[in-house]
């Protein structure tokens, strides 16, 4: 346990000093935090519950639009703001900006949670690939429909309020970094707390055999919906932060971006190892480093690389990094292996 405390405090201290030690990487680190949040929340569905969703992007995009809309709508008429297309006809004062951001983030987290609860009963009754395709359809439909709604900018996009004139570019980066780092800590602590309760065992029971779990007297539907609501909460929060960080919301390219973010979260969780607490964190970090390197040096070929990467990971590496480590060092994961057993296996090979 003491080793864990050391590890956690090391990570927190690194997180706190990182923007000052590596000021050039502030935006990248903020995006990394958001990616870890997304991978961790996807893991609640895909890893623990066995419900492989492509639809968590719905909550992410919803949170993004809601946060920006609230931030603008609290002080200015929303329709005129989007009409002007980001020209500085209205300017937020610093107090208005932070106030709007705070309220916006709360709304961005709460409303997707409610949405998840409302549609959960209908959607989570689907099994296996029907669920996967249905959530894929949900995400794309949300993107297409939001691209046709005038008040949130329709096809031309939605410019989020620019950061107020306090401290310039450095302050903006630090503000969003600490916001996303805070979201990451919040998510990790919450998910870790959830995983140490009976709830995780119930989710795992649903993954392993849902009918049997139901027969044992577990109200599977209730727990599935709760799990989805937890995901939606943090996805919406991450979306709200990301919207402010990017500064511009487009319906299909930024918010409901099933082709990028929607696939990234699945890929990161699988790369790190499904169904583990640390897997998505490691997966997101490795993926982000790889992605940034590739995106920088092979600009234009990134989607080709992404496609190849998906195929390679899914086919050759479905257990992920944590699964590989677990196979290599089972003792570290608390698995006891009989020496005789191992010898017998070696002889068999």
């Amino acid at each position: 346990m003491s080793k864990n405390i050391l590890l956690y405090s090391a990570i927190v201290i690194f997180g706190l000093v990182a923007p000052f030690v590596f000021p050039a990487f502030k935006v990248q680190l903020s995006i990394l935090c958001v990616l870890i949040v997304l991978a961790t929340t996807w893991n609640i569905q895909g890893g623990e519950m066995g419900y492989n969703t492509f639809g968590n992007i719905l909550f992410y995009g919803l949170g993004m639009y809601l946060c920006a809309s609230v931030q603008v709508g609290m002080f200015f008429p929303l329709a005129e703001w989007t009409e002007s297309g980001g020209e500085k006809t209205f300017v937020h004062t610093p107090a208005q900006f932070f106030q709007g951001m705070a309220v916006g983030l709360v709304v961005a987290a709460v409303v997707p949670t409610i949405v998840a609860g409302l549609i959960g009963y209908a959607i989570l009754g689907l099994r296996g690939h029907y669920f996967a395709i249905c959530t894929l359809g949900l995400g794309v439909a949300a993107g297409e429909i939001s691209g046709g709604i005038e008040i949130i900018g329709a096809g031309q996009g939605f410019t989020t309020p620019p950061f107020p004139e306090v401290g310039g570019l450095e302050a903006r980066g630090e503000f969003f970094y600490f916001l996303s780092f805070g979201a990451l800590i919040l998510t990790f602590v919450a998910v870790r707390a959830i995983y140490s309760t009976r709830f995780r065992l119930i989710l795992n029971a649903i993954r392993d055999n849902e009918d049997k779990a139901e027969a044992m007297g577990i109200e599977t539907m209730k727990y599935k919906i709760i799990g989805w609501m937890v995901s939606a909460f943090f996805c919406g929060l991450a979306g709200g932060i990301m919207g402010g960080l990017v500064g511009y919301i487009d319906s299909t390219d930024v918010a409901f971006d099933g082709r990028e973010m929607g696939v990234f979260m699945v890929l990161m969780a699988i790369l790190g190892g499904k169904g583990t607490l640390w897997g998505p964190v490691i997966g997101a970090t490795v993926f982000h480093i790889f992605k940034e390197g590739f995106w920088t040096f092979f600009l234009g070929w990134q989607y080709v690389a992404l496609g190849v990467l998906i195929v390679v990971i899914v086919i050759y590496f479905p257990e992920g990094i944590m699964g590989w480590l677990r196979e290599k060092y089972p003792e570290k994961f608390g698995e006891v292996i009989d020496e005789k057993d191992r010898k017998a296996q070696v002889e068999l090979k």
């Binding site: 996967a132 249905c134 949900l138 429909i145 190849v308 899914v314």
Partner: protein, 297 residues
């Protein structure tokens, strides 16, 4: 919202005719999807991208001065080999695995194809002009491009041809046997690996035909693949596997639905309406099945 469509009967006739002819094309793509789903238990997200790729083959023939209608012959031949290639490289490693693995792997292929097509052919919306002219019906109130009629006829010819091939030929029998029970088929001497490769190839060839027809009648664009996948998935789950008349019927129904959605909601919501319909159908199906389960209890 625009309800003019109900006030002028000719617009209704126009929408229905367009929808039916479009739906036949959808049914052809869905038939390929049902085939591979039934035989290999794979849901191919890259289905729509294969369609678009087939369309580009016809478009290139048009660019080089060959009449694009010949694409209906050339495109499936090229697409067959591309399909077999995809099978050998990727699909044969995911055939016996979890369905989600195959969905994700084909999703990767889909992204890859999208981007490669974007590089190779550019991001413009293109169409191959067949020069077939249009037919006017009902005092020139309804316009019907002859290319649409041509594409519907060709689709029906290919579908019927494939049904006969599946019934009569040796490979067709092997495919049907593998679909029923792959282990038993293997024991009885069917080379299931070859059957799988052929199935995927035939599916890709069907996509090639459909794509060539789409490039003649409508437009193609590298990123337009996913809606075709979703449409064919929807048609297959509504009709059920191995129910060919059902596939044709629900394909045409979907076509008509889309045309009406286009008129009533506006073109910008067309794709959104398709995806929402998918969600609604799946949810409806889920409630119907759960009622059945309760009844059994």
């Amino acid at each position: 919202m625009d309800f003019m469509v109900f006030q002028y009967p000719m617009i209704t006739v126009q929408a229905c005719l367009d929808g039916l002819l479009l739906g036949i094309l959808f049914a052809l793509i869905a038939y390929g999807m049902a085939l591979q789903w039934g035989v290999m238990n794979i849901i191919n997200i890259a289905q729509g991208d294969l369609v678009i790729l087939g369309g580009y083959i016809a478009y290139f023939m048009y660019l080089y001065g060959i009449h694009p209608a010949w694409g209906v012959i050339v495109s499936p031949i090229i697409m067959y080999f591309i399909g077999v290639g995809i099978y050998k490289l990727v699909i044969n490693k995911v055939v016996d695995r979890d369905l989600f693995i195959s969905i994700l792997a084909t999703f990767g292929i889909s992204i890859l194809f999208m981007q490669l097509m974007n590089f190779a052919f550019g991001a413009d919306v293109v169409l191959a002009n067949s020069g077939y002219g249009t037919t006017m019906l009902f005092d020139n109130n309804v316009t019907l491009p002859n290319s649409k009629i041509f594409s519907a006829v060709i689709s029906i010819v290919f579908a019927i041809g494939l049904v006969i091939y599946m019934k009569k030929s040796k490979l067709g029998r092997a495919i049907r046997a593998t679909a029923q029970n792959s282990r038993a088929a293997k024991i009885l001497g069917v080379d299931t690996e070859k059957v799988y490769a052929a199935t995927f190839g035939i599916n890709a060839a069907l996509c090639g035909v459909a794509g060539a027809l789409i490039s003649i009648t409508f437009t193609i664009h590298p990123y337009m693949g996913l809606p075709y996948t979703i449409r064919s998935f929807m048609i297959v789950i509504v009709a059920g596997l191995g129910n060919l008349p059902g596939v044709a019927m629900s394909g045409m129904g979907l076509g008509v639905f889309e045309e009406f959605a286009d008129y009533i909601l506006g073109t910008e919501f067309r794709i959104g309406a398709v995806f929402l319909l998918l969600v609604l159908i799946l949810v409806y199906r889920r409630f119907k099945l759960s009622r059945k389960r309760e009844y059994l209890k």
